[in-house]
C-alpha cells in the first residue's frame, strides 16, 4: 500500500504540449484575411495568390457567388442530415446528373468532403484479403483510404511501369500456385491523374494495357487533373484520348477547379450504386450544403461554356515552368503543363528541418514582396513515403503574364539571397 502511495506521489504527468523551440512552424504561421482569391491578404499585406488551388479562378466568380446566394436564400445553409435521411435535395441530384453527363459516364455520386471521397471509395470495394497496387507518391487521402480498407498494399515506384509489371507478375505466379484463393481476391491499381506530391501525370495508356493483361481494376484519382487536362477539362482520360469506359472508377475533388467543397466519384451505374450503401462518407456524413452544390453546378456551366480557359491555363503553366528553370539551388519538379509544381532544393542542407527553415525564408521573402507562396505540408510521421520539402507554386487562369514573370524573377532573387 505504501509503495502505491509513493508511486502516486512520484508520478509526473507528461505535458499536454511537448516542449518545442520557438521556431516550430506551428507557432509561426501566416494569417490570411479574407477569401483566398487572386489577390490574397497575408499578414496584412496584399499579395498575388500563387498558393491556393483555384485553377480556373472560379472562387471569386460573380456568377458562381450569385448562384450560391440564391441557393442560400432558398434552402438555408446546411442540410441537417445524411443523404439517406432527409438530406437529399434536388441540387444534389442535379449536380450528380450534370457531373455524370460532363464526364460522359453513367452515374456520379457526391461526397461532402474532398478528403473523404477517395478515402471512402477505396474501402467500399477493397476488403481484407484483396490486393491494391499503389503508387508511392499517392496523396494522404489515398493512403488513409487504403489503411481503412485493410487490404494488402503493394507500393510500386512512382510512375515506374516496369516495377508495377514486376509486382503484377509476382502476383500472377502466386495466383497460379493457389488458384482457389486467386479466384476470390480482388485486385486494384490506384493512381492519380496529376500527382499532388510531384506534379507528374501517370502513364495511363500503359496502365490500361497492364489492366487488361493482368485483369486488375483501375481507380483513378483526378483531383488535380479534373478541370485542367483535356480539351474540355474532362481530365486525364481526355488528355490521352482514352475511352472513359476503360477506367473503373474516377474519383475527384471539387475543391480545386470547381471551387466548391466536396468530391465526386463517377463511373458505371453498377459500380457507383454500390457506394450509395457502402461509401462510409456518403451514408454517415451530412450531405453537401445546397449552396455549395449550386455553386458547383454554376462552375460546371462556366466550364462547359468557355472551353478555351483550359488551353489558356496550360499555356500559363508552360510559361512559368520555362521561367523557373535555371534557378541555382532550386529544381523544378512537375510536368510543364501541370498547374501545381514543386520547387525542391537541389541538395539537402543536412536535416529536413534545415531544408524546411531555408524554404520558409524563401517563402517569407516572396510574401514580403507581394507574391504569396506556400510550402507543401505533410504529416511527417503519418506519410508512408514522405516527399522532400518543397515550395508549391500554383498557376491559375486569373494570373496575368506580367504577374507570372514577376513571380519567377522574385523567386530567383529570393533563392539567390537566401541560399548564397
Amino acid at each position: 500500500l505504501q509503495e502505491k502511495e509513493e508511486l502516486i506521489e512520484e508520478w509526473q504527468p507528461e505535458p499536454l504540449v511537448p516542449p518545442v523551440s520557438k521556431d516550430h512552424p506551428a507557432l509561426n504561421y501566416n494569417i490570411v484575411s479574407g477569401p483566398p482569391t487572386h489577390k490574397i491578404i497575408v499578414n496584412g499585406k496584399e499579395c498575388i495568390n500563387f498558393a491556393s488551388f483555384n485553377f480556373l479562378g472560379l472562387l471569386d466568380n460573380e456568377k458562381v457567388k450569385s448562384a450560391a446566394q440564391a441557393s442560400l436564400k432558398k434552402y438555408g445553409v446546411g442540410t441537417c442530415g445524411p443523404r439517406g435521411f432527409y438530406g437529399t435535395f434536388d441540387v444534389h441530384l442535379e449536380l450528380e446528373d450534370r457531373l455524370a453527363k460532363f464526364m460522359r459516364t453513367e452515374e456520379a455520386i457526391i461526397y461532402s468532403y474532398g478528403f473523404a471521397t477517395i478515402a471512402s471509395a477505396i474501402p467500399a470495394y477493397s476488403k481484407r484479403g484483396d490486393i491494391v497496387f499503389v503508387d508511392e507518391a499517392a496523396c494522404f487521402a489515398i493512403q488513409k483510404g487504403l489503411q481503412a480498407s485493410r487490404s494488402n498494399i503493394k507500393l510500386f515506384k512512382h510512375n515506374d511501369m516496369t516495377d508495377l509489371e514486376r509486382l503484377l507478375k509476382e502476383q500472377e505466379t502466386e495466383d497460379q500456385k493457389n488458384p482457389r484463393k486467386a479466384r476470390v481476391t480482388r485486385r486494384f491499381i490506384v493512381v492519380e491523374g496529376l500527382y499532388m506530391n510531384t506534379g507528374d501525370i501517370c502513364p495511363l495508356p500503359e496502365l490500361i494495357k497492364l489492366k487488361y493483361k493482368y485483369k486488375v481494376r483501375i481507380f483513378l484519382e483526378e483531383s488535380l487533373s479534373f478541370g485542367v487536362l483535356g480539351e474540355h477539362g474532362r481530365g486525364i482520360t481526355e488528355h490521352f484520348g482514352i475511352s472513359i469506359d476503360d477506367i473503373d472508377l474516377i474519383s475527384a475533388n471539387m475543391e480545386n477547379s470547381l471551387a466548391s467543397i466536396g468530391g465526386f466519384c463517377c463511373g458505371r451505374s453498377f459500380i457507383i450504386d454500390h457506394q450509395r450503401l457502402s461509401g462510409q462518407g456518403y451514408c454517415f456524413s451530412a450531405s453537401l450544403p445546397p449552396l455549395l452544390a449550386a455553386a458547383a453546378i454554376e462552375a460546371l456551366n462556366i466550364m462547359e461554356d468557355n472551353p478555351d480557359i483550359f488551353h489558356t491555363l496550360r499555356a500559363k503553366c508552360e510559361r512559368i515552368h520555362r521561367a523557373l528553370q535555371g534557378i541555382s539551388g532550386l529544381s523544378v519538379v512537375g510536368e510543364s503543363f501541370s498547374p501545381a509544381l514543386h520547387l525542391r532544393l537541389e541538395d539537402s542542407y543536412g536535416s529536413r528541418e534545415n531544408d524546411v527553415t531555408l524554404l520558409k525564408k524563401i517563402v517569407d521573402y516572396c510574401i514580403n514582396r507581394g507574391i504569396a507562396l506556400t510550402q507543401a505540408r505533410y504529416l511527417d510521421k503519418e506519410e508512408k513515403c514522405l516527399p522532400p520539402p518543397s515550395i508549391r507554386v500554383v498557376v491559375t487562369v486569373e494570373q496575368t503574364e506580367e504577374e507570372l514573370d514577376r513571380a519567377a524573377s522574385l523567386i530567383k532573387e529570393a533563392a539567390q539571397s537566401v541560399l548564397n
Binding site: 474501402p123 476488403k127 481484407r128 484479403g129 482457389r180 450503401l277 457502402s278
Partner: protein, 153 residues
C-alpha cells in the same frame, strides 16, 4: 440483438442464434419437417424418422458448416469472409448456450430416431454417419480447420 431491431452489432451473424424465439422456431421447424414426412403415405414410421434425422443434419451442415461469410456487407471490411456461420457464432467464443443447444439438438434427434427405428442396422448406419458429419465440425479443436483445403477460400 433481436432480429428486426436496430442494433450496433458489427456482424449480426454472431448473435442471430441468441435472438428471442430462435430456438423455439428451430424446434418447431424440425417438428414441422417431421410431420410433413410422416404425412407422406409411402414412408413408414422408421423411414420417416431416419429421413427427418438425415435431412435435418444435411441442412445443418450446409447452413452452419459449409456456407462461408455473410449475406450482407459488414463494417469490419470482411473479417468473417472465410469463416462458416458456426465459426462466426458469438465471435468464436466456445461453449456458449447457443452452441450447446445446437450441439445437443442433433443428438436428441438421433436418440429419438434410433428408438423409433427399433435399432435396425441399416437405419443405424445412416443415422450415425449423418450425426457424425454434423457433430465433428462443432468440436472446438476443428475451429477454422479445413481438411485437405476443401472450402478454404
Amino acid at each position: 440483438m433481436n432480429v428486426g431491431v436496430a442494433h450496433s452489432e458489427v456482424n449480426p451473424n454472431t448473435r442471430v442464434m441468441n435472438s428471442r424465439g430462435m430456438w423455439l422456431t428451430y424446434a418447431l421447424g424440425v417438428g414441422l419437417l417431421h410431420i410433413v414426412l410422416l404425412s407422406i403415405p409411402f414412408f413408414s414410421v422408421p423411414v420417416a424418422w431416419t429421413l427427418t434425422n438425415v435431412i435435418h443434419n444435411l441442412g445443418m451442415f450446409i447452413f452452419l458448416h459449409a456456407v462461408k461469410g455473410t449475406p450482407f456487407e459488414t463494417p469490419d471490411q470482411g473479417k468473417a469472409r472465410l469463416l462458416t456461420h458456426w465459426e462466426q457464432l458469438d465471435y468464436g467464443v466456445q461453449f456458449t448456450s447457443s452452441r450447446k443447444f445446437f450441439t445437443i439438438s442433433p443428438i436428441i434427434l438421433y436418440f429419438l430416431a434410433s428408438f423409433y427405428t427399433k435399432y435396425d442396422p441399416t437405419h443405424f448406419i445412416f443415422n450415425t454417419t449423418s450425426l457424425l458429419t454434423v457433430l465433428i465440425p462443432k468440436l472446438p479443436q476443428l475451429h477454422g480447420v479445413r481438411i485437405f483445403g476443401i472450402n478454404k477460400y
